[in-house]
Structures are given as C-alpha cells and as structure tokens.
Symmetry: C2
Subunit: 398 residues, 2 copies
Amino acid sequence: MKILCVLYDDPKDGMPKNYPLSELPELKKYPDGMTLPTPKAIDFTPGELLGCVSGELGLRKFLEERGHTLVITSDKDGDNSVAAKEIVDADVVISQPFWPFYLTRELIEKARNLKLAITAGIGSDHVDLQAAMDNKVDVVEVTYCNSISVSEHIVMMILSMVRDYHNQHAIAKSGGWNIADAVQRSYDVEGMHIGTVAAGRIGLSALRKMKPFETHLHYFDRHRLPESIEKELDLTFHESVESMVAVCDVVTINCPLHPETENMFDKELIGKMKKGAYLINTARGKICNREAIADALKSGQLSGYAGDVWFPQPAPNDHVWRTMPNHGMTPHTSGTSLSAQARYAAGTREILECFFDDVPIRAQYLIVQNGELAGAGAHSYSKGTATSGSEEAERYKK
Amino acid sequence: MKILCVLYDDPKDGMPKNYPLSELPELKKYPDGMTLPTPKAIDFTPGELLGCVSGELGLRKFLEERGHTLVITSDKDGDNSVAAKEIVDADVVISQPFWPFYLTRELIEKARNLKLAITAGIGSDHVDLQAAMDNKVDVVEVTYCNSISVSEHIVMMILSMVRDYHNQHAIAKSGGWNIADAVQRSYDVEGMHIGTVAAGRIGLSALRKMKPFETHLHYFDRHRLPESIEKELDLTFHESVESMVAVCDVVTINCPLHPETENMFDKELIGKMKKGAYLINTARGKICNREAIADALKSGQLSGYAGDVWFPQPAPNDHVWRTMPNHGMTPHTSGTSLSAQARYAAGTREILECFFDDVPIRAQYLIVQNGELAGAGAHSYSKGTATSGSEEAERYKK
C-alpha cells in the first residue's frame, strides 16, 4: 500500500544531535486509566524529534519491511503541492494538526484509493468530515496522546498573561530595570474566576491544575460532568457560554472546531466578557474571530490573548495575531512537545498495525467509520466541514 | 518622626490612568489561616500601582495627618544618593527587595535615630542584620504578603522553561512557523521530578501547585514538614541539597539569603545536578554563582534558568544573566504584582500603626527585635550579613 505522510519541516539547522534531557519520564497510563499506545514495537527513542520530515514518525523501517511505500513531504498547500499530487493514489494519509494538510472535499474525491486518514495528534477539523463520510474514508486520531501536554500549555499561558511575563522578560533581556513598567499590568491568579469552554480531557485537566491556585472554577459543556467531579473541584456549571464568560477573569477554550463552534468568540461574545479579562485558545484558531480578538486587545476589552492555534496554518507572516498588543502566541506547539511526539508516533504505529492486520482500531480513536461519525467523533464533532478558507495558508512565506 | 521610604521609579510614561482589571479578587485569609494585613484604614484602591515613588505605598495622608514627615526617593545607591543622605536623621526606613536600599553597617551606624527598618515585602537580606542587632534597630517584614505571588511565578517559569515558551513566542512574533525549531527543546512537565530547596510558605505552595501535574515532588529543608503534608503530597525528603539535586529534572530555590546559603549553587553543586536539568531561582540572586549559571547554560549542563532575583539590584545593564542562552529572567517582579502591592502596602501601614501607638507588631513580622533574631527571623535567617558587593548596583544606567 501507499502511505502519504505530511509532516512539518526539519529544524533550520538540521536535526539536533543531542536533546537537552537524556531521558523522558516514563508514564504508566493516561489519567482516566486508558492505556498509552500499545504498538507491537517502536523503532525510535522517546525524546527524539519525530514529528518533522526527517523524523518520519519513526515509521519507515516498519512500513518498508512490510512491503509498503512511504511518501513523506511537508509541501502541502495548493494544487501543485507534493501532497496534493501524491494523495491521488494513496491508501492511507497521515497528517498533523500542527502543519495541517487540509483534506478538502476536492482532495478526498480525487483520492480514489483512500481508505484511512490518520491524525497524528488530536483534532481532525482539517479533514472535511462530511466529505470523508460521503466517500467512506475512515478518520482516526490518537486520542489523549497530547491532551495533558496542551493542558500544561494552558496553565503556562494563563499565568504568563495574568502576570505579564513577556513584557517583564523583554525588559530583563534588553538591559532595563523599570519595575513599575514591568508590573503595572501584573496580577496574581489567586482568587480569580477561571472558566473553560468544554471540560473534556484537556479542559478538565486544566481545571484540575488551576485548583491549587485557589481560583474559582467554571465550565460550560454540552455534556455535564459527574457530580463527584463537580464537587471535588467545586465547579460552577453554566448552561451557556454567555453566562460563563460574564463572570470569568480568564476563559480557556477547549472544544473541538466544527461548524457549531466556528467563529464562536466573535465581537458580540467578547463584548459579553468581563472588561479586562484574558482569553486562552489552544483549541482551534477558527473558534475565535481574528479581527475581533485584535480589536479587543487594542480597546482593552481583553487584557491578554494567548494560544497556539491559528487559521490557517502556517499562519501568514502578516497574520494580525503576530503583532497585536499583549498576546502570548506560539506556533502550534502545545501538542507536539518531544514528550507528545513519542506518544503520537507510537499511537500512529498502533493504528497502522491494526489496519494492516485487520484488527479493530480502538473505539476511542475513531472519528469517522463506515460513513458515520463514530466513537470519539460522535461525542465531540458535528457533521459538516470547517476547512473553508484554508487556501490562505499559501500566503505563508518561509 | 521622619520616615524615609525608598521605592522604585515611576513608569516611564507616567502613572497609568487605567489598569487592565477593574477590580482585584478579594481574599479571605492566607492559606495557613493567618489573617491578611489589618490596618485601621487604607487610603488607596487595591489594584493601583503603589510600589513606585508616586504610589507612595498609599501612606502620605496617614503619615502627614499624624504629624510625621515622609521622604520618598528612588535614588538609593552610593554615598551621594538621596537615601544615604536622608537616612542620617530618619526614625524609620521603609525599603523593598525589588529595588533594595542596601542597609550596610556603615549606613546603619550613621543613622543615629533609626529605630525600625520595614521591608515592604519579604526578604530582609538587603539589611546587614548583624549591624541591625548591634545597633538595636528592629527589622520587620510583611510576612506572607507575596508568598503566593512568588509561587505562581515559579510555576509559570517551570512550565515556560520545560516547554521552551520564550523561543516559541519569539518565532510567532517574528513571522516564523518552523515548528521543529520551536519544539526541539520542548518537553512536558508530567512525570518529572521537581525539588525545592526549602519548603516554607513559598516552596510548599509551589509543590502544591505542581502536584496535579502528576510530578514526583522532593524537598530539602532544615525543618522537616509534618508527616501529614509529606503524605498528602507524596513528598520525598532529602537530608542534603546534593542528594535532592541529583534526582531532579527541575530544582526551585526558595530559601532566604543569609551567609549559609550565599553562593550555594556554585559550579560544584550544579555539576551534581542531572544533565539538562532546569533551575528556577525566585529567592535571591546571590544564592547562585553568577558565572557558574551562565557557564552551565552554555555547556548544556542546565537546559534552562529562570528567576527574578539578581545581585545587585538593579542588575548592571551588562549582567551576564540578561544574555545567556535559554534563560527566562524577569526583573524582580514576582512579589510586586498589583495584587501583592495592595497587601504589602496595607501590611506596612499596619506595622506603622503598631509602632506609633506602641502596640506589639505581629510576631510573624519580626526579623530582628531588641538586638536579637526574633520570630520569623530566628526561623529563617542566620546571623551575619549578605550585603557585601552591593556597590555594584551603581553600574546600572537608566
């Protein structure tokens, strides 16, 4: 079979010889008891850079020994890209949220042999799920592989925004020492009201991590959490996003992107937030309206915005979120720490082993199966597509 | 009486008219049950910038109504500074760790009227405590006022160093999108071994906050914690710093500076740390050897160093910690968030009210009393001084 794998570019200075830490901590299981990926073997050392082109997700030896063809590229945008050409006769496509190969209806319809689309990570909104259903392409992702990674990023960003870390760090680096400049926008998180839009694996983990900060915790979700968890964390449940954002100092977005959540944080909803609140979005860029975010930072309606998700990706060099005031943006990195890479590389291999050997893929990994939303997909996604506008990714110049 | 108050400079663009958040969260008490500062009244709105010269710690009205003279200056370094001249006939001196007026033996001996030195904050190492004892100057600080603020800063810095936030943020700001560059030094904190040097208010709070990250927690302290806390947080106690640093991925320093802790993290101790570990120091700059830290970052023995304490302060513009690789430094800000300022301004007023009305100052606030280490001082400090070398602060050019 032919496997097309779309990964991000190598480091500019080539693959590093040494990594800072000599070994990764070993984890026993995910917090809910779900087992970590269980491939029969792996051909990489956890902690290596696996998510870029030369990293190959550690798959080449395994695939070639089984007689398959592996094509890897980072060239993904536009009709003339390598990925757009190679997908035509591919059986399996592996893609990533960080460097998303936008699987539009047009591409899916062209890919006559395509049976399986694997997201090496979590979040399959870069796939037109409706088109996948219509064309009987199964869609799977490596559920939980980087949820905790993302929740760490969220806590880091909440603290950095509220305490105004970037401003302070810039003063230290540039030789300055005006402490009043450094702290005139700096607060403690203690006592603040923190709310999450969706309390799934990531949102709930972020709430748990904020609990010892003596904060007041809120959530909105279309699925209510068990009463035991609400009590344990002293959570306030809200029936609507509007009700929650009106009382929170910090809001963190942790829902998937689908047609119902696209553009949720527009000018109107941001206007209902507390004056001077902070917004953290590590979910998907399209959930927030680009201009409304930039305007709210300029007007002071928002005191800070941080996140690692943009639309499209790569973000155009002149994307306004790169230069708006008081932001704490990163490229899409939260779910692709070296620690996360080891898990999603192993999970991708587990999925491929199942697919080749005709063994069922874990139900938790399924988004679309046999033309229907399935497993995790039915819980979190809605039908339709959220890929439109992705052609703008071509505007990124390296 | 004459009160000399040494505060940091105003913001470069003048005092801000508006602050990002319209109101601060109200806190009921400190985590151990100790009450927040209890002055009879305050003349400021919590959330205002109080710690700089124009902020006056909100004290002028109160002091002048009582017939006292308040002198405020930021000019603190060298024999010709305003502070060095004004202290000669001052009865009370108020100073801050962030912009420390180094009360050397020479200055204390010159200040014939001096009865009380108040640290508006925590950490009185900028006072020659031995000279204060010898000259019967009482030394007090606003215990607990910013301990939680500092512990938040620590968690922020641990996450930012381990995940490599500054590098990622710089890429986003500069128009880039090389994810491999952004994550080749990025790890999850989950599963790591985190250790604190001293588990007092700050160190213990940082451990509590790291607990839900599913980390392994360690501590060294000259006072062992109650067994109930060790069990609750599953802490590993170490008899020596050496034993602890050998097994930790992240070490955070939370002991006071006194002659026994000065230069503790020298080349030898850093050499005993795990290769590629991270070091966070929000305690005092002098606890770490300046050159040894910079060398360890260059060699890769340390993967990252972050903190907000330097020696002297302000740090000379060319201080090597401003430009060494993989650092996450801030000016001395962690304990002077707007939230912390409201508490230490109120605490300073509480202390002054007690002093003027001849009411005992809270035992928790006392460092030196009647020529002896007292209260908090006896618990945390040793005799002697750690102020030598402070003349280098004059090398900072605004």
